[in-house]
């Protein structure tokens, strides 16, 4: 069952919702404002009754897989259980009802929560201060690089390059570029770790920073991290930590101790704020003392119990977004940290690593394992062993969908051909991991016996495999003016048709 678009369900003259009437006089806009300031075309929003709207979105919801109902082993995304208590906390009127421009005295609780969350995050990653402003991980990366640029600038140094491993997530080079740096790629060695030799050769006085993910995107710990840190610092560059994989580390080790100078965290990964089908998240950035002066403004300060927003930060890189960050997400993360505590967070990371290694073990003979274990919180397999049968990672992914599992991340990281990146997290049961492994076995077996059938997957979902190539072709036609079907939005059918 697919569902029509709200625009297609719309009918002229459906009653608009009841709303307050103007009850104070006051002129009508049409009288008070000049014609040219007013909208001339009618507003083409759909017209539906509330019961129709609710059913429409209820049906749409039922077309989604989500962690609430499905194992969602999307590598690098840490799709773990989102506690319902977090949602309650964020919806408390004492939080949800706050205007960002209320006087400080009237928001002491909110500022205190931010201050406590900052302290907790400092403890987890081992830094001096944390800014809660960035809205997501990529935003945090960019924010950190702005600070690193400001730091070097403040010392009269002009460092123009940022080193990024070939296994890095796309946001790393993108953030570096948007921050005005040249991106220099560093190769991974055969063991899946960054090649120190190659790093050596890339480091120079031009190097502003090295961006590292650890465990890296292959799910492997960068064994030589201490040497790496030394090399980087020796050239006067800074070491940046992409915290997307922090879920492996809580209570086990800290990026700060490894020598990272700046660290972003994805609260929507490690700290269970929901992903919302693509956000909102939150990407706080932690920094060592040297970078503190450059933190975005304002920071939250606490003097003998009283909390204030400090805007007087002469060296600050400025603001990276309006107001103080995705506050509602901060409430959720803080609630999670309170409930878990230091003991719970440590156990969570240990379980995440255990689950990943266990699942890896269960499928190690079915898919290729390009790198030696043990892995950390996730592992990257390769479907290359199925290529002989004409079966690709994408086919495996689609076949999993038909078995009620969301698919692992595929074709990332780029350094592994036909990559299948699996992150089970600590909130999936042993039984779930085993049934997933059984599904992989069945699919791999089928790749040998009946590969064609895999190209047809998925078959049990509301729609079959969607042709993105054809879609792209139609979009290009539109953008080039060769067609007036926008494809990227609904368009009223030409009069007369329906």
């Amino acid at each position: 069952m697919t569902e029509p678009l709200s625009f297609e369900l719309s009918r002229p003259a459906v009653d608009p919702p009841r709303l307050p009437e103007p009850d104070v006089g006051g002129p009508a806009p049409a009288e008070a404002l000049p014609r040219e300031a007013l909208r001339s075309r009618p507003l083409g929003l759909p017209r539906l009754s509330e019961p129709e709207i609710m059913r429409h979105y209820s049906r749409l919801a039922s077309l989604n897989y989500s962690i609430s109902e499905n194992f969602y082993p999307l590598g690098s995304c840490t799709m773990k259980y989102n506690p319902v208590a977090n949602e309650l906390a964020a919806s408390l009127p004492g939080f949800a009802g706050l205007h960002p421009y209320q006087d400080e005295d009237s928001v002491q609780g909110a500022l205190d929560l931010m201050w406590r969350l900052e302290r907790a995050l400092c403890a987890v990653v081992g830094v001096e201060r944390v800014t809660l402003q960035p809205a997501a991980g990529a935003h945090g990366e960019w924010t950190a690089l702005r600070m690193i640029a400001a730091f070097h600038g403040s010392r009269g140094e002009n460092r123009t390059e940022v080193l990024v491993p070939d296994s890095a997530h796309g946001t790393n080079p993108a953030s570096a570029a948007l921050s005005g740096f040249q991106v220099v790629e560093v190769k991974s060695g055969p063991d899946g770790r960054i090649s120190l030799a190659d790093l050596e050769s890339r480091l120079s006085p031009r190097t502003a920073a090295l961006m590292l993910t650890n465990p890296n995107t292959l799910g492997l710990f960068e064994r030589e991290i201490l040497d790496i840190a030394e090399m980087v610092h020796a050239t006067g560059a800074m070491l940046y930590y992409d915290g997307a994989n922090l879920n492996a580390f809580m209570g086990i080790c800290r990026p700060g101790d490894m020598g990272f100078d700046a660290v972003h965290m994805n609260l929507h990964k490690t700290f269970t704020t929901p992903h919302g089908g693509g956000g909102p998240g939150a990407g706080p950035v932690g920094v060592k003392a040297e970078l503190v002066p450059f933190l975005p403004s304002p920071t939250v300060e606490r003097q003998n119990g009283h909390l204030t927003l400090d805007y007087k930060r002469p060296q600050s890189i400025g603001r990276v977004r309006s107001f103080y960050g995705n506050f509602g997400m901060l409430v959720r993360a803080y609630t999670y940290i309170l409930a878990m505590g230091g003991d719970g967070l440590s156990q969570a990371s240990q379980d995440a690593v255990l689950s990943a290694n266990y699942l890896r073990k269960l499928v190690e003979n079915d898919l290729e394992m390009p790198h030696e274990g043990p892995c950390m919180h996730e592992f990257v397999a390769s479907a290359q062993n199925l290529q002989a049968n004409g079966v690709r990672a994408l086919d495996v992914a689609k076949a999993l969908l038909d078995k009620q599992f969301y698919a692992p991340t595929v074709y990332f990281p780029l350094v592994v051909p036909e990559a299948i990146m699996v992150e089970p997290t600590e909130t999936e049961s042993k039984a779930t991991l085993e049934s997933f492994a059984a599904a992989i076995k069945e699919i791999v077996a089928r790749a040998r016996t009946d590969p064609q059938s895999l190209h047809a997957e998925p078959t049990n979902l509301p729609v079959g495999r969607l042709d993105e190539v054809a879609a792209a072709r139609r979009i290009n036609a539109y953008l080039q003016g060769a067609s007036d079907d926008p494809v990227l939005r609904w368009k009223a059918p030409p009069e007369g048709t329906s």
Binding site: V24, A61, Y65, A96, G97, A138, L178, P280, G342
Partner: protein
Amino acid sequence: MPYLVHSPEDRAAMLEKLGVESINDLLVDIPQSLRLDGLQLPNGLSELETMAQVSALAGRNKVYPDRLTFRGGGVYRRFIPAAVAAVTSKPEFYTAYTPYQAEASQGTLQAIFEYQSLIAELTGLDVSNASLYDGATAVAEAAMMAFVHTGRNEVIVSGYVHPEYVQVLRAFGEGRGIKVRKGGEPNKKTAAIIFQQPDFLGLLVDTRALTAAAHDAGALAIACVDPISLALLAPPGEYDADIAVGEGQQLGLAPSFGGPHVGFIACKKELVRKLPGRLVGIAHDAQGRRGFVLALAAREQHIRREKATSNICTNHSLCALAAAVYLTYMGPYGLRQVADVSFRRAHALAERLQSLPGWELAFPERQFVNEFPMRVPKAPALLRRLSRKGILGGLEVGRWFRELKGVVTFTCTEVNDARALDELVEAVSA
């Protein structure tokens, strides 16, 4: 422990299967010198105690009733239909990830496609993306688009654009060597003119003139607009702006101390390849069934890496969903009524406040919609007095603009009923 599923037996069985003694055997790659034993954090709490602590923090904030809130400045109290939260609180929506696997994510994809269509409709432009973080970053991203599109490295901010948006624009600009100029005439170096309608003070600007000026100089016109005002005002598409951006908080999102809200961005067809972030488009399966997929990914970081139009990955999908539900609930006439009621009330209030001794409109010659700046005697004391009466009075904008010391902007929406206006006027007169 809360939210963990493995029992000690489960862990033992898994370790055994792995042929190791303990979890430490799986952490061998980590240098001993780095290993912690635990975190410097208190132990966890029961849900009861956790909620008690969090509620205590919430209790230390003062919440003003919607109807007695007259402060805006970018975040507004609006009536939020119960339907909005009923949809966004569905776990199938809020616990899903970015819809990489289209066939198992049609709910999210179609909802975003509807959102894109609604925003395109509202702004009168060709294409909207799937959402950005907020209004401020939307302005900055739009400026980046202009920079890339024109190859020029200066943007002009015209008039009273939200000061925080301008600060964010500067921070973004610095990274890419883009100069941000306040006002002045565009020239050959100008990539875009950015203006806000209504502006930060609530006043209308001459969008047609500004757009024409930009175009005459070969620059783009970027309109930062109030989405609800577009039920009344000419949308950017009507005055030929190239990019429309704005803050979507008013479309069904709680103030929530400033976030999460949502930034929207829509543009002309010609600029679509420069758009940042996700885009959802129509696709079909082998049987010809219509579905939705992430489209034009070649703009994005995971494909283009350092050449991407933006680094944005996780965006504000769920907030976009809220906006879609809100706009669908309102429909064309509902949204118009909301805007109309807000307009009338604001004008009625302005009338009454003006007549108070020492009060005057800061810009009597200029038009406004539902937010307006007044010169007010002893603003700080006044606002404190209002607060004691449970009223969140207007916003002192002198904090950002020296020339506006003593100016306070007041906002009215459909939540500020007639009695609330009386209460405000009484309270200020008292």
